[in-house]
């Protein structure tokens, strides 16, 4: 059976897929958005929902900065359920070496026009009284924010549907065929273009896409309003995210608008099961306790896991899929999917329509990786 033909069919209604659907409909293209399970229910639901500028590389900074500006433009029109909070981020330095890194970061952001403020030990303690004493200071980035991603995703999806997009749920995309996507019920969605936004499962449809699942753990507490006021990240977070081999944890804590405290982060490759891995969960929690001993008394309600989509250079894949006519990738966002979803969608739409992009899109082209990929 052949379903209604569209301009673009998008596989995966996570935040990236939903953002793409929304951007394509705004560009007056007809869209079909496919989701085999729950809209925004994959890594989108598992993650911390932060909208943050990250300077691990120039290209990463460019994309996060651009995408954050798009979020800022949309903030006022997001529904309450999306829980947009402009709480800012503080990168926490625990010693002089990290403080030097803070100053470097500050200088880089200053040059790029990102508002920042260096906090010394006293200022850090005042900003976040529940951090332990003896930390060297930190870098406050007030322009960062957090959202509740499943609801933001539903909002993006609904905006697309309101502009005529079709949401197809409960069936799985099996393969990209000439001129569309074949689904698990045997039907075909005919489309001029196909987008693989299936996150950590992208290689199931395009095996050459160099995406590996990277498991993360999270913990959420009961309500303790004002326990933490900003998103807090240790400087070692970048090392943990950048590293490609061993299991790692990094201190990352966030206030939710409900007053609950969300605690991360952990990274593991080659994990198949979504079951909570107690040893690494505890390692992650003990790391958090090192920075915020007062966390110890809070009540933990839930723990869960999710799989990020990781690429070899920590940059996403946005653009034509090599070797496949008409197929595009919008995947591989690792821990920055929420932040860069809007930028990804806009870059993809602009590329396809031949319009000038707001930032260079070269660094994110899938063709930067040679076709023969060794998949672990």
């Amino acid at each position: 059976m052949t379903r209604k033909a569209v301009d673009v069919v998008i596989v995966g209604a996570g935040i990236v897929g939903a953002a793409c659907a929304e951007a394509f409909t705004r560009a007056q293209m007809s869209v079909a958005l496919l989701e085999k399970a729950v809209v925004g229910g994959g890594a989108t639901a598992a993650g911390m929902g932060h909208i943050v500028v990250m300077d691990d590389s120039e290209a990463q900074f460019a994309l996060t900065h651009y995408s954050q500006s798009l979020w800022n433009e949309r903030a006022a029109s997001m529904p309450r359920e999306a829980e947009y909070e402009g709480c800012g981020t503080i990168w926490v330095a625990s010693d002089d070496e990290e403080m030097a890194a803070v100053r470097q970061k500050n200088e880089f952001y200053r040059q790029q026009g990102v508002a920042t403020e260096i906090l010394d030990e006293a200022m850090l303690a005042e900003a976040e009284p529940n951090l332990r004493k003896g930390l060297s200071g930190g870098l406050l980035v007030p322009g960062d924010s957090v959202i509740y991603a499943p609801c933001a995703t539903a909002w993006l999806m609904q905006s697309a549907v309101d502009r005529g997009a079709t949401l197809i749920t409960g069936v799985e995309a099996v393969k990209f065929v000439d001129g569309g996507v074949q689904l698990s019920d045997g039907s075909v969605v005919p489309a001029r273009l196909s987008v693989n936004a299936a996150g950590s499962r992208s290689p199931e449809l395009t095996p050459d896409a160099p995406v590996r699942p990277r498991k993360g753990h999270l913990v959420i507490t009961d309500r303790y309003p004002h326990f933490v006021r900003h998103q807090l990240v240790e400087l070692g977070y970048l090392k943990s995210a950048h590293g490609m081999t061993t299991d790692s944890v990094a201190f990352n804590v966030q206030p939710r608008s409900t007053g609950q405290v969300l605690v991360g982060s952990s990274r593991q490759f080659d994990q198949v099961h979504s079951a909570v891995d107690e040893p690494i969960l505890q390692r992650m929690m003990r790391r958090a306790l090192e920075y915020m001993p007062a966390l110890g008394n809070l009540s933990v309600l839930r723990t869960w896991t999710g799989f990020r989509a990781a690429t070899p250079d920590s940059l996403p894949l946005i653009g034509p899929c090599p070797g496949r006519e008409g197929v595009y990738l919008a995947s591989g966002h690792e821990g920055l999917g929420i932040t860069t979803s809007l930028g990804t969608a806009q870059l993809l739409v602009d590329q396809i329509l031949g319009k000038a992009t707001a930032i260079p899109f070269g660094p994110y082209l899938p063709s930067r990786f040679p076709l023969e990929q060794d998949h672990a």
């Binding site: 009961d222 309500r223 303790y224 409900t258 008394n297 009540s299």
Partner: protein, 83 residues
Amino acid sequence: MPEEIALAVNGKEIRVPPGTVVAAAVNLAGESRFRISVTGEPRAPLCGMGICFECRVTIDGVRHQRSCQIFCRPQMKVETDAG
């Protein structure tokens, strides 16, 4: 006659028999509201067996204590959301 236990609920001193749970003491002190829900509703115990979390009060400064599962102790300071 077993010694009664003296404790305070929202600053009000009361005495209860041993074996009284904090939830009953809160009621004896005349409070019907234990906590305020996330949309501002008054709430009180529902399940009586420690699983609904509606009976939460602050005991000796510690939040989120399930009052139906805790026996009163001498000099306890109990505070409800109303207090």
